[in-house]
């Protein structure tokens, strides 16, 4: 790639997305780290698959809630109660629009993706999964889309089956799908985008095939919703789970989208206040959707913060975000492949900005430590996907993951430091 082409790419992308201006929206991105010897390093935040940074709009929404709206929702008659309830329910509306769901009745606020999946495993799974039934997952799932089903399978005497992934490029081996979907398959639950490989899985075809056989599909969209335009009606998934904090929102808030007929059929997840309609000492009836699944005082501030995040992302435009991140990732991958002994796990043709790698024999923790000393934040470890690591025959990887506020300059700097780390740990100069 010549420098000229590169400059053109950068200018085109900058027009698509005014990254310099966008970066000013995120106070933490101007964070500096000074060492004992007086050197100062700028933050390069490449750990976005773990959590993203928050724009001022989200921070302000949280501050504004506690300063001007704080009250419990759905109960108080007073003015603050009205404000809080309006803001909380308005966020639900924003989320519903953001993923194009038919109604706010389909949007359940949870603590995050993990709780959303556990909710389905508990409330739908325990009611409808019978001994001998099969649940189909993939081999590339995050622990949060594996363990809830292991628990359910153990409880119900059901069986888990797995669509394998290819070790060479980190894509799902869909060719033998018919082999894995059997007469006993009752649910398919897969990740829309892998948090290890960045692979965007061909979920539309999968959902279509599943529906032909009357099997519902859950999408773990923790990595997808923050980076790709998501339309649940077009996808036609039956359940979709995602987290607020991976899309500029606060921690502790997430969403379960589910088609209304499923939520109607399901039993409550937790019991307590808010989720009830009428209560006697020996029995109770359930509140209407989605409140039936929101026992107790919810994370009101978190939901309002997520609403602000959704507004912020919509203002930029999800298509633009996807396009910019695709270009950035393509550039990062091509630069990384310049480096000898660089092994990248996950070279799917359709992928997002998550890059797992191993540099020679340098342990990911050493790599991450070295990068951190230059202000670059990456993740090192098994990324909550131990079975994936085991299949790859490794213990861990270093993972760089991008968001729309990352820049080409940051990637150049990252490449420079990876090369330095390579030398530091005994691989000679390059």
């Amino acid at each position: 790639m010549s420098d000229n082409v590169l400059e053109k790419e950068i200018s085109v992308s900058d027009v698509i997305l005014e990254v310099k201006r966008i970066r000013n929206d995120f106070p933490i991105l101007s964070e500096r780290f000074s060492s004992e010897t007086g050197t100062v390093k700028s933050l390069v935040y490449f750990d976005n698959a773990a959590t993203t940074q928050k724009p001022r709009a989200v921070l302000d929404a949280l501050q504004n809630y506690y300063q001007h709206q704080n009250a419990n929702v759905h109960r108080a008659i007073h003015k603050l109660g009205e404000r809080a309830t309006f803001a909380y329910e308005n966020s639900r509306k924003k989320v519903a629009q953001f993923i194009n769901s038919r109604s706010t009745r389909e949007i359940v606020f949870t603590r995050g993706t993990t709780e959303a999946i556990n909710l389905v495993a508990h409330s739908w799974g325990r009611k409808f999964i019978k001994p001998g039934d099969e649940i189909l997952l993939s081999e590339m799932e995050h622990h949060s889309n594996l363990i809830p089903w292991q628990l359910l399978a153990k409880d119900r005497g059901a069986l888990l089956r797995f669509i394998p992934f290819s070790k060479s490029n980190g894509t799902l081996q869909m060719a033998n799908l018919n082999h894995f979907i059997t007469e006993k398959t009752r649910l398919i639950s897969v990740t829309h985008m892998s948090n290890v490989f960045g692979t965007i899985n061909p979920v539309r075809g999968l959902i279509q095939k599943a529906h032909e056989r009357g099997i519902p599909v859950l999408l773990d969209a923790a990595q997808a919703v923050p980076h790709l335009p998501t339309d649940v009606q077009e996808l036609d998934c039956d359940f979709l789970a995602f987290s607020g904090h991976k899309m500029c929102g606060p921690t502790g808030i997430g969403v379960l989208y589910a088609k209304e007929k499923f939520l109607e059929d399901m039993d409550p997840y937790q019991g307590g206040g808010e989720m009830i309609s009428s209560v006697w000492l020996d029995k109770a009836t359930w509140n209407e959707l989605p409140h039936k699944f929101e026992a107790g005082t919810p994370n009101i501030a978190g939901a309002i913060g997520l609403g602000a995040a959704v507004d912020y992302l919509s203002d930029i435009g999800m298509e633009k975000i996807t396009l910019y991140e695709q270009k950035l990732t393509t550039y990062a991958l091509s630069r990384m492949q310049e480096i000898t002994e660089m092994k990248i796990f996950g070279l799917a043709p359709f992928r997002g900005g998550v890059i797992s790698f191993y540099m020679g024999k340098i342990h990911p923790h050493d790599m991450a430590q070295y990068l951190d000393s230059e202000g670059i934040a990456v993740r090192a470890g098994h990324h909550c996907a131990q079975p994936v690591m085991r299949k790859l025959g490794i213990l861990a990887t270093t993972r760089a993951s991008f968001y729309f506020y990352n820049t080409y300059e940051e990637i150049d700097f990252f490449i420079e430091i990876v090369k330095k780390a390579r030398e530091f740990f005994g691989y000679g100069t390059q």
């Binding site: 060492s35 010897t37 342990h363 923790h365 050493d366 430590q369 470890g381 213990l395 530091f424 005994g426």
Partner: protein
């Protein structure tokens, strides 16, 4: 916090050329430990003779520079020493890593002083102590067996 304090030359030397790396024979007592957070894995082998001398310490495994160097330095330091002294060194290392003993305690133990830098990187302490927990377990197991 400077990277060179963590990755001192002694550490990098031991990491690139670990000492006493390899399998022991059937006279050794083995313990395997894992750090699930990073996947570091170590197999630690000790041979404690009838006179309560730690005659041999060997290890295999894979992990980061800190965990492998710490294991390598440890084998050098413990080999040939009487059990009581070995146990004291183990307590000194684990104690100082936990912040219960002064870091300077390690100055008395040769290359172990190089591990002092790890204390400034709290998330790496577990890397440095993996081998030490393993050797502690191996000695306890060896004593039980005799």
């Amino acid at each position: 916090m400077e990277l060179n304090e963590l990755y001192q030359d002694i550490i990098l030397d031991h990491y690139k050329h670990p000492h006493n790396f390899g399998e022991g024979d059937s006279s050794f007592t083995n313990v395997e430990l894992e750090n699930p957070v990073c996947g570091d894995h170590i197999k630690l082998m000790v041979y404690l003779n009838d006179e309560n001398i730690v005659k041999e310490v060997k290890f295999t495994g894979s992990g980061c520079a800190i965990s492998m160097a710490s294991a390598s330095i440890m084998t050098d330091e413990l080999k040939g020493k009487p059990l009581s002294e070995v146990q004291q060194i183990i307590e000194d290392v684990l104690g100082s890593m936990r912040g219960e003993k002064a870091a300077e305690t390690l100055d008395e133990h040769g290359d172990l002083a190089a591990l002092k830098g790890v204390m400034k990187f709290p998330v790496r302490v577990k890397c440095a102590t993996l081998a030490w927990h393993a050797v502690k377990d191996a000695i306890a197991k060896s004593k039980r067996n005799t």
